[in-house]
């Protein structure tokens, strides 16, 4: 928890210093960056147990390119081999691999023979693999654990449009000035003007979103569903995020908090036992779970949960969105300063509930006399820079 808010440096946006020229180059890089893939270590070491052939065959078997002897179709249709793995409740191939690699002498055949929990029993009915197939699958999973999960490739639409337009503009310019294949200059000018407008639009949009992560919904180490917990089971947000009433931090609940319920509830309706087991594994190994942080403000902004949750009684959903409808937690709002301020300008402060506000005697009186309907947070200084930046 203690690294939730580190002593941070203020970061100035480079856009303040970049000139118009830089914006184009920048936008190009930004669009490119959306399809730069994380490269994995590409020198496979031959294993002690498995040959290259085993690895290849194992992969084909897992992905259903080679049939099993028992007629079992494939593994990959349920256990995804690449990330993101957002909607799939079954453990991914990578998840299986790293969990099992920690066990000594694991055996897929044994796991199939003795399935854990009803969900797994139902899903694996009548499945069996031969010893040879098991060896190949072990080989593949060993490789998956070593290499990490594969990633889905996103189509870089923006980049294609950006560079394509750029090329077109360059050609138009070239033709207009030198080759002069098309006599009329109207198409040239049109292309360049439209291209410039589109490029500018990209530049503005991309630089505005610099450092913002609206819609960010990364895969978490545990397939934890807020929909099931907060939505279906209607657990109060502050049952788990209890410190949000007292601290500046909202507070990721400790493993122990999970165990309050999951000591008894060992199997989930969607994910079976595999995901919940991770809590118990963490408890036994003493290794806390490394959640991926979704909502983060820049280090130079100080947001205090207690002020909003405890004092102002703001609904969690006002900032975090309809969390109770999300399986996977997603950053709903852009968390920009404008967004913060618009709320400060609209939110009425309840003067009556808290004796602290009696300090605003004049405003209280105006409200009593009916000269003032309500006071917004902004009118009490909620727009001051040093409310959040210090």
């Amino acid at each position: 928890m203690h690294n939730l808010r580190k002593a941070g440096k203020s970061r100035k946006f480079s856009t303040t210093t970049a000139c118009i020229l830089s914006v184009f180059v920048l936008t190009g890089f930004l669009s490119l960056s959306s399809f730069i893939m994380a490269s994995h270590d590409e020198n496979p070491q031959d294993s002690i147990h498995f040959s290259r052939d085993d690895l290849r065959k194992g992969e084909r078997l897992f992905k259903g390119l080679m049939p099993f002897a028992s007629g079992l179709h494939d593994c990959a249709s349920c256990h995804y081999t690449s990330l993101p793995d957002t909607i799939n409740w079954n453990p991914s191939a990578y998840d299986l691999a790293i969990t099992w690699m920690n066990e000594e002498d694991y055996s897929i055949r044994e796991k199939l023979a003795m399935p854990l929990g009803t969900r797994m029993i139902e899903d694996h009915q009548g499945m069996s693999v031969t010893a040879q197939e098991e060896h190949l699958l072990h080989a593949y999973l060993w490789e998956v654990a070593r290499q990490g999960p594969g990633e889905l490739k996103a189509v870089p639409v923006n980049a294609i449009i950006f560079w394509g337009l750029g090329l077109l503009m360059a050609l138009a310019l070239l033709d207009m000035l030198l080759t002069k294949k098309i006599r009329s200059k109207i198409p040239h000018v049109l292309i360049i003007v439209v291209g410039l407008v589109v490029h500018m639009q990209y530049a503005v949009a991309e630089s505005r979103n610099l450092g913002r992560t609206q819609g960010y919904a990364p895969d978490q180490p545990i397939k934890f569903s807020h929909l099931i917990h907060a939505g279906e089971n209607e657990i109060d947000c502050q049952y788990c995020h209890s410190i949000s009433r007292f601290s500046l931090s909202g507070g990721i609940p400790s493993n122990e908090t999970c165990l309050n319920c999951h000591n008894v509830i060992r199997e989930g309706s969607l994910s079976g036992r595999f995901e919940i087991n991770k809590i118990h594994q963490a408890h036994e190994s003493g290794q806390p779970i490394s959640w991926i942080r979704v909502h983060k403000l820049p280090d130079h902004s100080f947001f205090n949960h207690a002020q909003h949750v405890n004092v102002a009684n703001i609904e969690c959903q006002s900032c975090h969105g309809p969390v109770e409808t999300m399986h996977l937690i997603r950053q709903e709002e852009d968390l920009s300063m404008g967004w913060c301020l618009s709320c400060h300008r609209d939110t009425h402060v309840d003067f009556t509930a808290n004796p602290y506000y009696e300090i605003f005697a004049r405003l209280q009186e105006l409200m009593l006399n009916g000269e003032l309907d309500a006071v917004t947070a902004a009118e009490l200084g909620g727009e001051d820079c040093m409310k959040c930046h210090y």
């Binding site: 203690h2 203020s10 890089f29 450092g211 040093m386």
Partner: protein, 991 residues
Amino acid sequence: MKKTTYWKSLEELQQSTSPASSGEDLTSTPTPIEILSNNENDKASSRRDFLKWCGISFFSATVLSACENPVKKAIPYLTQPEELTPGKAAWYATTYQHGNEYCPVVVKNRDGRPIKIEGNELSSLTTGGSSARAQASLLGLYDDGARYHHPLKNGNKISWEQADYEIINKLRDISANGGRAALVTSTLLSPATQQLISHVQNMHPELEVITWDAISYEATRKAHIRFFGENVFPQYHFNKAKLIVSFGADFLGTWAAPAIYAKQYAETRKISKDSPHMSRHIQFESYVSLTGANADTRIVLKPSDEKRFLLALYGEMLRQTGQDDYAGTTISDAEFDLKQLASDILEANGYSLVVCGYNDPNCQLLTCAINQMAGNYGKTVAIDNQLMIGQANEESFGSFIDELRSGAYSAVMFYNSNPVYQHPKGELISEALKTLTLSISFSGTRDETAEACDFILPDNHYLESWNDAMFKEGCYSLAQPVIHPIFNTRQMQDSLLKWTGSDMDFHAFVRNFWTERLYPLQTEYGDTQGFWLNSLQKGIFERKAETTRLYNANYQGLPIAADAIRQLISQADGTELVIYPHLAMHDGHMANNPWLQEMPDPITSVTWDNFIAISPAFASKHQLRDGDVIRLHEKVEAPVLIQPGIADECMAVSTGYGRTNAGKVADNRGYNAFMLTGVKNNFRPFSDVLASWEKTGSGFQFARTQTHFSMEGRAIVRESTLDNYKLDPAAGNELHAYHEKHKLTLYPENIYEGHHWALMIDLNACTGCSTCVISCQSENNVPVVGKDEVRRRRIMHWMRIDRYYNGTADNPGIVFQPVMCMHCDHAPCENVCPVSATTHSAEGINQITYNRCVGTKYCINNCPYKVRRFNWFAYADNNRFDYHMNSDMGRMVLNPDVTVRERGVVEKCSFCVQRIQDGKLKAKKERRHLNDGDIVPACVQSCPSGALVFGDLNQKDSRVARLIKDARNYHLLEELHTLPSVGYLTKIRNR
């Protein structure tokens, strides 16, 4: 009214109108563009270079912006500790102590790491005050460069088990062979540790404990033995004294217990219309001490003359009480009217107080006698409930050195003691240590003595340790760890327990000691567990009952003492030397602390160095200039500094510098003045006749902040005398009424609906001790910039202590004035910012928003108070500034509630807005009013004399609201009508 002219430097006094000649040679200061250029010969930067830099920065900006947002982890606790809420601070009470220094503190702990030290308000001694050194001691915890990370044997890493095994065997052999062992320690304030050591001595009678202090108060104890037959260091009640006479005792700065005395002293200096009474303070001294600067009358004398005056005062008192004057010294009326002083002392009838700073038993005996004749014992001085400081014995240490060299000892251990550095015979000690069977240092940080020992068994930092302390008899305080030991270190006490075969740790030992010894002294708690837990929570335990003693004085020794002093005076001839502890460095054990190194000395405003201070007359006589290096006693070479107010024919040198093995910050910085101390009749008097000095011909440049941020001679400080104050409380502050009457403005008046924060500073109570400066630095992540940058006037401190002189250069009047952002209602900085990065808040705070600032520095230019600072560099994570912010460990000290500023932005005092926000939120959460005093900025909290008061002007009954209406209140440069939220109360002197 006669206009008093104030000046900040000698150059200013000498009417040098050209600003370039104000204090420093500015031509040697390189410009920023020259710093960028590596080639020293090619200073001018060409257009090509400029384009290159542009290209590189443009390219890197582009590449950096294209990076994806990094994935950040949020890792919760596996099992969240009950007492810890992430993001919320926890406070633990503990005690800072080192030798004679003491301060009960509370430590702010955020997410497991201590980030701020504050005085413990429950202590009746300090009532929440602290000292700059107590504040800065926090940084020592994270000093990974200077702290030992594990036990060492002859410089090689060794395990604790192996070290224990070897040492136990060696000790057993020594014991069997009838060898002698010694534990050298500075004064031990901890009763539990004393108990433990005597327990060890019972088991090992061959172990001798030798107490030795680098800065000793032994003579005071010796004098009390001779005079009252009691081995005590008396407690002084400065708060009860109407007349304070000090002979060279810097009791507000470094002498004995300054944090406690400052509080008492301020009590007698704070005046109001209802009680226009204050003490009168006369200081006789040879160098300019903090105390002297605060005195109503300051008499400049060279050390031998001080003693002559003391003797003459005693003689005068004898005569005035109708006794035979055997002092045999008189002072001519032209020198000073001692007759008047003596009669004033006698007239005060027990409510005067005479203190003497010399570690000379004869002088101390005279002081005892004067106080006794004045009837002060039992009123302003008491030998019951004494202070426990000064238990050292120079004589036994002297014979220890001789015996050590003759090979009488087989084993020596050093605890909190560094004689190799602090004793003039340090080198001999170091050599002798090499021949021993066993030499052990318990030092937790690198030091010269430890390097000479076989075994270094590093002690924990005090914030990692269990301990207790009794500074004053009956006033106990506890020390508890606030963090798990960062390195593989172990408390000295735990080592001793281990070696004596005990399976108890020192935690249990302290607990047993408290529940067995202290629990019976109270009646509040019915069970030992309750007593222990409450003591731990409060950090202190004070026995209520005070004993009273009879004062049976014995005057027999006085004629001999007078003779001895007369003899001493007759020997004094020529230039004299006075050695004093440096305010920040003290005995030098925290020399590797960059906060303290960069703390400007309040008198000279020199940072990062010590110097030889000489008077302007002495300088012109010998044609010495600032920075000329001279050689003293053939031992040390150091630069001179011309300091107004020092006795002629006198050189003042300060201790604490010249470390050779302390860490990268301190090593070889300044010179070691301990080398100049001599031992006379088994005492180190810290003053001497200078045998020889000579010019070396080389020069040196100081980093002084003296002429920085100057306000060019306007009416900045206002002062008056007590007599005038009694006639008119607004005396000296006539300008305030004038400006109030003639104010005109184009701006509309600001309306503050809720709070309107303000700070009041009582110039009468401020002693200039600079605790607030360090406290502010610690709270607000203020970077250390280093000597070179200080010379370029780029010190980053958010508050400074301005020092103004008035009068002549021989003996000027000195006024201190803390200056931070004034938070003007009509702030000149706000309307010049082109990007609205500095704005005014609804609560009257002048805000600076780092993420919006583009660094035009217009605001700095337009600020009449010169309180804004510019980040010329990224001071964090930058090898150029290799201080605490350049390592992961050092950065742990940073306050997570305050942004670490990036290069190119302006910063300044924020009134500790993070504390304001926190205080308001606390009130809101508890659904209650915000009370006066709920919010305390770091500077206000740490002030030992309570000179600073912070609060809400809109709250009619708040202390600031009352003080701002005081007739003494004025604002800096109020003619500009900036309407500052910081007010000053005029300085009143009682003369």
